[in-house]
Amino acid sequence: MKDFLKKTSPYVMFAAAWTLILAAILLGERVPAQINLVLFTLGGVLMGFGAVGIALSRIRLSPEQQKEYERGETDERNVAIREKAAMSSWYWTLYMLWAVFMVIQIFVGGLWGVAISVVIVLHCAFYMVNIHRWNKKL
């Protein structure tokens, strides 16, 4: 089932992307501009994921290359690298968000300040949720 989903999801995403983009074009000015923007954005994102997924699924590897690729995915050093990179990225993103927050509070304020605060809270909340999840797993 998991394998089936993995194989078909890029095609589903690609088809959904075209559906959304076509809907945006066909609906045109009959819907508010924001709805059109959402349809185009979602369509674009799904198109990107779908196209990359399809391109990756078309790459044919020799059995040795396939084995090496799979080994690379589960290799403990690679896993450790990914974990450390993810942790560093989280901190860097947090520092960056704080910097943006300060700049916005000083120069812009208003709703943008609220929006960036929400993003910072979500950023930390997702981290804590995942810490809790992994604390239960390990």
């Binding site: 090496e68 080994r71 690379g72 290799d75 403990e76 050093r77 690679n78 450790a80």
Partner: protein, 67 residues
Amino acid sequence: MTNRIAELRKARKISQAELADGVDVTRQTIISLESGRYNASLLLAHKIAKYFGLTIEEVFLFEEETT
């Protein structure tokens, strides 16, 4: 922690790729282990020791930190 992987491998005329294949890791991991940049997990240490037919203590040398 230091290890004798490079020494044991060379003594047995085994390539890094062969060892990597034998313990199911990438060659890069073997390179990092040999250079001391990466410390193996207990599972990998066990696999490597088993590959050489030795105990973990004979392959991996634990040095107690002096304060």
